[in-house]
Structure formats: structure tokens, C-alpha cells
């Protein structure tokens, strides 16, 4: 911190004071830069040139043109300093130059757009803190994609599963590794590993980790990702040797296939009327968890039975859901079965459908198969 402050030049201690109206306008400029940063991560210079063509603010347009032509951040800064139009600017113009240069520097460094937005809006003052959070949240809501996976063979995914049994252990490893190494290591892990790691960094930090891992997946070679994983594993080992971790037994993060088949059949055997009645006012988190224990055909059936608004709510809950042990998914499935039974009875659903739901409600893990069958049989009598 002191090192950063000590490197400031005399002029950098003075911060230009701009009007609220000007800063509001600059917030929009910052948002545009963040969106260009998002696109340029995928489409490179093409995105910069396209953005320059439609940009109305002169400093940003010039900066984007220079960046599209291959100029680095320092070269753009020097070009601004040498531009007669930018010498002796008014406070509002000076602030615009600062925000633009900070944005272009982050953009060229391929910084995540959310972190970049925080950097730029900080120049506008703490009054823009909440507005920035709202902007990031609105971008998060529109973000519904899952990147392609690249799984580099190794023990890291298994270690992450074990660490996730004690979230503090996983958190300690990820923070000790640092964001860059964690993202590089995660670039070669299955989505499940990322889903376990994301909550450690919070709602926005988790998305940044996921996006950075996806970004690095397309930039690093398989060997580089394997090296990052080896370094990450070394950190885990050293923390473990120092007694700072609790590595648990591996846990299964998927529901029993028998249970999945049973719950899927039960859901598919119900008509829309029963499903709609059962899902009225249901906790989205419960339904999202239970759906982790169903096949895709049952997901389609459920989503088809929901109103658009509820469907959106459910999809959000699914996106926010953390990976859970199979037992938690099965418990949610049983709770859902109870609701479905009540709705099915009220709608006088066929006996066969009720039997299937009862079978789900009474299901017990492998090893209790005969007990399950016995209960099902008695339910039919």
C-alpha cells in the first residue's frame, strides 16, 4: 500500500473535481469500456475497432483506435499527453482522461470487466459504489453460459472434492494460491471443481474466477495448465503438512442413479395440473436442489409446467446453487415427493403415480434395497 502511494507523482495527489452531471456521464463511459473489455477478451482487436467506430467521446475513441492498432497502455498514455487537445484540461475533462486511461490499461491487460468497472468507477468517488454494484448485478443476471470444459488428467479435482468437505480448507488453499494461479489450475478442471471453488470468492469474485479460468483455457497450453495444477497441489500439500487443512474422505456430489431414475419416472408420470399445484409457492432453492437428482427430461417437464416468472426464478436458483453431496440432493428429492403426493392426492391422480412418489419418499441408499422394495410393496397394498 505504502509502496503504491510512494510511487505517486506530485500531480497524482491532486484529484480532479468534476460535477455530478459529468461524473454520471463518465459512469456511462466506464460501463462502455467494461463492455468492450468483455467482448475483446473473446474477439480481440476486432472488438476494439468496432467499438472505436461507434464511440462518441473523443478520448475513448482515440484510445480504442490506438489499442486496435496494437498500441500498449503506456503508448496510449504518451499519445494522450502529446495530444494538444488534452493539454491543460478542465477538471471534468481531466477526470475523463483518467477514467479512459485506467479503463484502456485494464482492457489491454485483459482484466475482468467487473474488476475493471470497480477500478474506473472508484475514480468517480465512493458515491458510485452502489451504482457499480447494481451494474455488475445486472450483468450477472444476463450471464447464463457454461464454458466448454478442458479436463487435464490429474488429482486436482479429487483433492478439491476432499477440500470442499471443509470449506475453510478449500478457501485457505485458493487464497494461498492467489487468484491467477487458482484460475490457471482451474482451467483444466471439470465444471464441478469450479462450482465448488466459486463460493469461496463471493458472488462476483466467483464469477471472475470462472470467467478467468475459461479465458485461460483458450490461452494456455495443456502443459502450462498442468504446471499450474502441480503448483497448486504443492500449495495444498504444504498447507496440509503445516496442519492447516482438514482433508476429508471423498464425497459423491451426485445423487444415486437408482434414485435419479425413480424420481424422474415419478415426475414424468404427473400431469401439469398436479405439478403446478405442487410448485405453487415452493422454495426455489429446494426445487433447484431436487432437480439435481433428476434426468433432463424431468427438468423440461418441470420448466414447462411453470409460469415464465417462476421459470426465471428457478433458473436463477439453479445458477446460484452450490454443488451438494448426493445425500442432500436425495433429501430435497424426498421433500419434493411429499409435496407432489399432497398435490396428487388432491387432484385424485392415478394410483400408479402415487406409488412412484411414495417409493421416492421412502427411498434409502444402496444397501437398503430390499427395505426399499418392501416399503414400496407395502405401499401398494
Amino acid at each position: 500500500m505504502i509502496r503504491a502511494l510512494a510511487s505517486l507523482g506530485a500531480a497524482e495527489w491532486e484529484f480532479p473535481r468534476a460535477s455530478r452531471q459529468k461524473r454520471d456521464a463518465l459512469f456511462e463511459v466506464a460501463a462502455r469500456i467494461a463492455l468492450v473489455a468483455e467482448r475483446s477478451r473473446a474477439f480481440e482487436r476486432e472488438a476494439l475497432a468496432e467499438a472505436a467506430m461507434v464511440e462518441s467521446r473523443r478520448p475513448l475513441r482515440i484510445g480504442l483506435e490506438l489499442a486496435a492498432g496494437g498500441a500498449g497502455a503506456e503508448a496510449i498514455k504518451a499519445a494522450f499527453a502529446a495530444n494538444p487537445a488534452f493539454i491543460h484540461p478542465e477538471p471534468g475533462e481531466a477526470l475523463e482522461l483518467i477514467v479512459t486511461l485506467v479503463g484502456l490499461k485494464g482492457l489491454l491487460a485483459r482484466e475482468h470487466p467487473y474488476a475493471l468497472m470497480r477500478r474506473m468507477s472508484a475514480r468517480l468517488g465512493p458515491e458510485y459504489f452502489d451504482k457499480t454494484e447494481a451494474w455488475i448485478s445486472s450483468r450477472l443476471k444476463r450471464r447464463h453460459y457454461r464454458a466448454e470444459q478442458l479436463v487435464v488428467p490429474g488429482e486436482l479435482p479429487d483433492l478439491i472434492r476432499s477440500l470442499a468437505l471443509d470449506p475453510r480448507s478449500l478457501e485457505r488453499c485458493l487464497r494461498a494460491a492467489g487468484r491467477d494461479l487458482a484460475a490457471a489450475a482451474m482451467a483444466g478442471c471439470p465444471q464441478e471443481s469450479l462450482d465448488l471453488a466459486k463460493p469461496v470468492f463471493g458472488r462476483i469474485g466467483g464469477v471472475i474466477l470462472e470467467d478467468d479460468a475459461a479465458h485461460l483455457r483458450s490461452r494456455l497450453s495443456g502443459d502450462e495448465i498442468a504446471e499450474a495444477q502441480a503448483a497448486f497441489i504443492e500449495i495444498i500439500r504444504s498447507l496440509d503438512e503445516g496442519g492447516q487443512l482438514r482433508l476429508g474422505e471423498e464425497v459423491d456430489f451426485s445423487a444415486d442413479p437408482g434414485f435419479v431414475a425413480m424420481l424422474t419416472r415419478a415426475v414424468l408420470s404427473l400431469d401439469d395440473r398436479v405439478l403446478k399445484a405442487a410448485f405453487r409457492g415452493i422454495d426455489g432453492k429446494l426445487l433447484a436442489t431436487a432437480m439435481q437428482g433428476m434426468e433432463p427430461s424431468a427438468h423440461d417437464r418441470i420448466l414447462g409446467a411453470l409460469a415464465k416468472r417462476d421459470e426465471r426464478r428457478l433458473l436463477d436458483a439453479i445458477d446460484d446453487a452450490d454443488p451438494l453431496p448426493g445425500t442432500a440432493i436425495q433429501d430435497a428429492g424426498k421433500k419434493l415427493a411429499l409435496r407432489l403426493i399432497a398435490a396428487a392426492k388432491a387432484a385424485a391422480a392415478p394410483r400408479e403415480a402415487l406409488d412412484r412418489l411414495t417409493q421416492v419418499k421412502n427411498w434409502e441408499p444402496v444397501g437398503s434395497v430390499t427395505k426399499n422394495m418392501g416399503r414400496v410393496e407395502s405401499g401398494r397394498m
Binding site: I2, R3, L5, R119, G178, I208
Partner: protein, 146 residues
């Protein structure tokens, strides 16, 4: 290497009795570090409602939000410079930012204290560190406070 910066030195300078107020801040950040390491970072969410310091509050929100460390430092330093503080308010803000960065780095309480006692100045920091090595969690800040 840290460069000599006359403006920074001017802004950091304050009276000895003002510097004594660093002690409760150090203790606070040691407690927060212990809480984060013991209960997880998201447990710091509860601390937000207890603090009325805007810089600490915004900084904690950024730590919880998961902003990468270099961006966190940049954002907080920008707020600090923009407010044009000097003397004790500037020094206090520096200690808060350093504490937040230590929290984000998942430092243990003793490391947090080592980082923050530096703001007492070289002569005063050394004896405090000696005590800290004997009793990492409490002694140094507690003695300074009295």
C-alpha cells in the same frame, strides 16, 4: 524499494498521541482475521452492520465481493487520495486499507499485526514486534492502548 515521497511523508505525519489510536485498529483487524480464518470470509458479512466507518465498510464489501487483490488496493487507494486527507485521518485510512489487504490475503492475526505495527514508525514498531513474537495475539496492541 520504496521511494522517498515528500507528499506522502507530509500526509502521514501526526502527533504521538494520535498514533496511539492505531492500537485498537490493529486489534480489530487481528480479530477480523481470526474470524475470517476460523469461520470463513462470508462470516465478515455480520461485521458490516457494526461498523460506521465508510472506508472500512466499503472495503469489507469489496473483500466479500471477491475483488482481486490488486484491484482492491487500487480502488481503496483511489478513495484515499480523492478524499485529500492528511495527518491522523490519512494515517488511519492507510492502516485500515493495509488491514483490509491483509484480510483479503488471508493473513493470520500475527501477520496482520506485523504489517500494521509498521505504521507506528520504525522506532516504535520494533519493541512492539518483539512483544508480539512472545504473545502473537494480544500483547502489543493491548499495551499501546493503555
Amino acid at each position: 524499494m520504496i521511494q522517498w515521497n515528500a507528499e506522502l511523508v507530509r500526509r502521514l505525519s501526526c502527533r504521538e498521541e494520535e498514533k496511539r489510536q492505531i492500537a485498537p485498529l490493529i486489534r480489530r483487524f487481528m480479530e477480523l482475521a481470526q474470524k475470517a480464518r476460523g469461520e470463513g470470509f462470508q462470516s465478515l458479512d455480520g461485521v458490516l452492520s457494526e461498523t460506521d466507518d465508510p472506508l472500512l465498510s466499503l472495503g469489507l464489501r469489496l473483500v466479500l465481493e471477491g475483488l482481486p487483490e490488486d484491484a482492491l488496493e487500487d480502488v481503496l487507494a483511489t478513495y484515499l487520495i480523492a478524499e485529500n486527507r492528511s495527518g491522523w485521518p490519512f494515517l488511519r485510512a492507510c492502516v485500515i486499507i493495509e488491514g483490509l489487504l491483509a484480510l483479503a490475503a488471508d493473513d493470520d492475526p500475527a501477520t496482520v499485526a506485523r504489517k500494521l505495527v509498521a505504521y507506528y514508525g520504525a522506532e516504535r514498531a520494533a519493541p512492539i514486534l518483539e512483544e508480539l513474537e512472545r504473545d502473537p495475539l494480544q500483547s502489543a496492541p493491548a499495551k499501546e492502548e493503555t
